[in-house]
Amino acid sequence: MSTDALAESFPDEVVTRALVRYADVGGLPGPVAMITLDNGLDHTRPSTFGPAGLVCLDRAIDDVEAHSPAVSAIAVTGKPYVFAVGADLSGVPKVRSRDDAVAIGRLGHRVFGRLRASSVPTFALINGAALGGGLELALSCHYRTLSTGAGALAFPECYLGLVPGWGGSFLLPHLIGAESAIAVIVDNALSQNRMLRPAQAHQLGIADAMFEPADFIECSIAWAAGVVNGDVVVRRRDVDRGSGWDDAVTRGRAAVETRLHGAAPAPYRALDLIAAARDADIDTAFAAEDEALGDLLMSEELRSGLYAFDLVHKRARRAVGAPDPSLARQATKVGVVGAGLMARQLALLFAHRLQVPVVLTDVDAGRLEAGVTAVHRQIEALAAKGRITPDTALRLVAAVTGSPTVEGLAGADVVIEAVFEDIDVKRRVFAGVERVVARSCLLATNTSSLSVSAMAERLRHPERVVGLHFFNPVAVLPLVEVVRARATDEESLATAVALANAAKKSAVLVRDAPGFVVNRLLTRMLGEVIAAIDEGTPIEDADRALDPLGLPMAPMVLLALVGPPVALHVAETLHDAFPDRFAVSDNLRRLVDAGKPGIYLWDGGEPRIDPDVSALFTRGSSPSTVDDVRARALAAVADEARRMLDEKVVAGARDIDECMILGAGWPLHLGGITPYLDRTGISERVTGQRFLSRGVASPLP
């Protein structure tokens, strides 16, 4: 396939140009060709490579090779703050054939390969963020310098559903060894796309020299000149190309299997490529990368991954359907009612992110004092970890105080309650708060399942009540379900969204419906798994039924994380609302009554079923197979998701997916959940229709 035809798949490509200049540097016979990769926009739109960008680089290298006098070195760098952040994936949804996908791999290999095959030394000056294909371009150069100010270095391919396919799967393990390469390409990618800091990358051997940002280019060129004229000797680590290589691959496979159970192909393919790279010649290895790209670019998992990436990194920045942000009121003081686990996390979050006074209040003086102390300890822990400065810690500790009475909340612009999940208790709390705060104060509830409208009903100003449903652990999960109650006005809703965003969380607007989105779907799914157990399915079988999805944890592990009492409470609430779909398991009730934290004991590192729990449970005699449990649970999820859309709990399937990724940690390769339900045919079988049209999170036919 021709490059021009490829370019047609990327009509909206923001082309990264390769700008060439020549510098006469002392001590070298010829000039240094300096190639700058620059898409012409600022750092908020980092440079990427699509077909046209690769052609630009190709032509730049032509220009350099034709230059007279002959150059003594080629140095490639990026625009300020960015080296290059990889392939332009915006056109991928339009790639319709595997041949096209393979051609993308070949084009990258051919152009980057010119830097590797160059007869004059080539240098990558990694001045800023280098991700994926950008890092592969750097690896294709003979030498690399790295700025200590470079923002992020990573191979996010496996996170998205790809492999480093422009040389990275071969070049990186041969540069730094298979063990480190697998850590970077596979482990980091699967750990929420973890990035390397420059010092780490240098330590691993990815870069040969590191310089400070103030004169990074100047120092890099001087260093490069030293390499060319022999003054600088570059030492690289010894790479174990024997059993150490194979052992690393074996360990990598085991880790991926534990995590994914085969749910997504990319990390497996990456490990295959790295395994083969040990003995393969470079052409064979690169051809294998092309084939892997061909398969993966056309895969449902990658298409879901790109869809999900777009949801969480672009769409989630601004809540869809939210009122004009200019309507939001300022939050200069926050009140938190309650001093329990959730209240403490909320107090810490608001103090840390908003840097405003936060007052906790609780009817139980002992719990209040313990709560404030716990938040102060958390602030000190942040300082100890270097996340905040000692001065900021002092400021935040002073900002977080306790008040034994509700009067302490006077002057607050926002009060959020996180007291016991009881509608009457919460009503009383809001009624009390309303007496001491200004008319404009936002009243928010962190309820996970109660009706926000019901809570607001008897207040003088129900229009300022919203739900702000954070997820536990608050510091980790980036979602807030912002619940618009019946009376909520635009200003209050805008304030709630602004507050969530100021706390660096992604807000999704939801209607005031039982369980909102995440808890409703999780509870429905969990309900089916528990029901299967109640009916006699072995716990182990039921709990591994969903393994093939690669969820972050098995259902019974999730139950332990949430806590059986909370799970029971949510199940009861949903049962009250939808008795025909949400059962309340007697076994779950027994678990709660027995005060058990879950069904597993973790004493040996590996979970084993608590014999007390086995004794506690009464079980039926109609077990299901593992496959049946999975089918049943997923059918329930599809059914519930469709109902939520029909009831307009959220505006669209994208909101559901965004919620499940950000609030439950569901993986990108499922696209959240609706792309998975679509591609497996479950949506159509259960609900008679797809959630998303073909071509969205899936290849076009």
């Binding site: 200049r21 510098a23 300096m34 625009k79 103030a214 001087a222």
Partner: protein, 422 residues
């Protein structure tokens, strides 16, 4: 005894001690010029090599390169950072001495300040910190200057007081440097256009030879020059010099400041972007820290003249510094005089009876060739003199001098540590 009482008693005791003991002033020190670095000088304007490079980055790069030569000098030992700029706004603003120090990676404990004496900014930065070293307040200090005349054209944003015109305090031509140069030609009819052009051509040729023989070059750092349109480049050499220039060619240029005048783009320093930085230390501290001494400061002086003939400034400044140092012009073996305009150099030479082509004067050429980034040039003169000292142990004393806008001159006399009697 309560804690409060104990504290107050302690305070009383220490007050008593303070009264009974006279604080000791530090002894006066000799000041040495350790080393200097400058950026290549660029042609100011949209096509110049620094068109899209920040001014502060130029001086930061100079400071970093200079300090990188002395890795063993603990950065905390630097007592101050003086950075001069004539237009202290934008990327030359924000107390550039302090911000440049921080951005150069110096510890937060190292202070800095900004200096302005127009063309003599860097020279004033040097004399300021040298005075502090001499008085024993500092041990080691950085002095630097920068002018990005492309981003900050001379006179940009100024708001002259209307009294200047209303009360005829200063001739209006005083604010246009080229007109002050024409005024000098008027005052000294013996300084003709052709003498000025001959001098300018010689400056170009001397500079060209100095580059060729390596007298100019080692003090240069490199600067990454990014342009949004063309990507990164690297400045490694001065952009302005035209070593092949002849007086005949210069004679063909049109006057730039007055119809049928004498001052042209060829016999004056062009608008220039650049920065220069130097390291100064007390001589005993330099010895202790193993820092070399390229020059020892003998003395300095600044003097004012009528603003409309500002080019005369070096004459009274030099008279003053020589008188105080008890030296005469005959004792001065090398002179680095800034060439804002050829006429102003010739006026100085005529005053002292020195020939237009005297080899003691600007042996490596001057600003007519390399350019004059106002507040940076003083340090460039010092670097040139230090270079010349090293190769001329027969010379005992040298002079750096320059004219200054609004009618001033500055002169610094230096002793050559390499000097030995023949």
């Amino acid at each position: 005894m309560s804690r409060e009482a104990a504290v107050s008693r302690e305070a009383a005791v220490s007050r008593e001690a303070a009264v009974s003991r006279e604080a000791v002033s530090r002894a006066l020190s000799d000041v040495v010029f350790v080393d200097g670095v400058r950026t290549p000088f660029g042609r100011a304007g949209p096509t110049g090599m620094y068109a899209q490079t920040r001014a502060d980055d130029l001086v930061i790069r100079s400071i970093r390169t200079l300090l990188a030569r002395y890795p063993d000098l603990a950065r905390e030992r630097i007592d101050d950072v003086a950075v001069a700029a004539t237009t202290q706004t934008g990327d030359q603003g924000l107390t550039i001495g302090r911000t440049a120090a921080l951005l150069a990676g110096l510890p937060a404990s190292v202070p800095g300040f900004a200096v302005d004496r127009m063309c003599a900014g860097a020279m004033t930065a040097v004399t300021m910190v040298a005075s502090a070293i001499g008085a024993g307040a500092y041990d080691v200090a950085l002095a630097a200057g920068v002018e990005h005349m492309g981003r900050h054209p001379m006179g940009d944003g100024v708001d002259p007081n209307p009294r200047i015109i209303a009360e005829k305090l200063v001739d209006p031509s005083a604010l246009v440097m080229g007109q002050t140069a024409e005024n000098l030609h008027d005052r000294f009819p013996a300084i003709t256009r052709s003498r000025a052009d001959d001098y300018a051509a010689a400056s170009q040729q001397r500079f060209g030879r100095a580059v060729a023989d390596g007298s100019v070059g080692p003090e240069l750092t490199t600067v990454a020059t990014r342009s949004a349109e063309h990507g990164y480049g690297l400045a490694t050499a001065d952009e302005r010099p035209r070593p092949a220039t002849t007086a005949t060619e210069l004679a063909a240029l049109a006057p730039a400041f007055r119809p049928h005048g004498r001052v042209t783009a060829g016999n004056s320093a062009g608008r220039t972007d650049g920065a220069a930085a130097c390291l100064l230390a007390a001589s005993d501290v330099a010895a202790e820290l193993g820092l070399p001494a390229a020059m020892r400061m003998v003395g300095y002086a600044f003097a004012g003249v009528e603003p409309e003939v500002m080019g005369l400034g070096p004459i009274p400044a030099t008279e003053k510094v020589l008188r105080r140092a008890e030296l005469s012009i005959e004792d001065i073996g090398l002179i680095e005089i800034n060439e804002a305009f050829a006429v102003q150099v010739l006026a100085f030479l005529d005053h002292y009876g020195i020939g237009d082509d005297d080899p003691r004067v600007n042996p490596y050429g001057g600003a007519i060739a390399v350019g004059h980034p106002l507040a940076a040039s003083g340090v460039r003169l010092m670097i040139a003199l230090a270079t010349a000292f090293a190769s001329r142990p027969d010379v005992r004393y040298g002079l750096t001098t320059m004219c200054v806008g609004i009618g001033m001159g500055g002169s610094v006399v230096w002793a050559n540590p390499h000097w030995h009697e023949a």
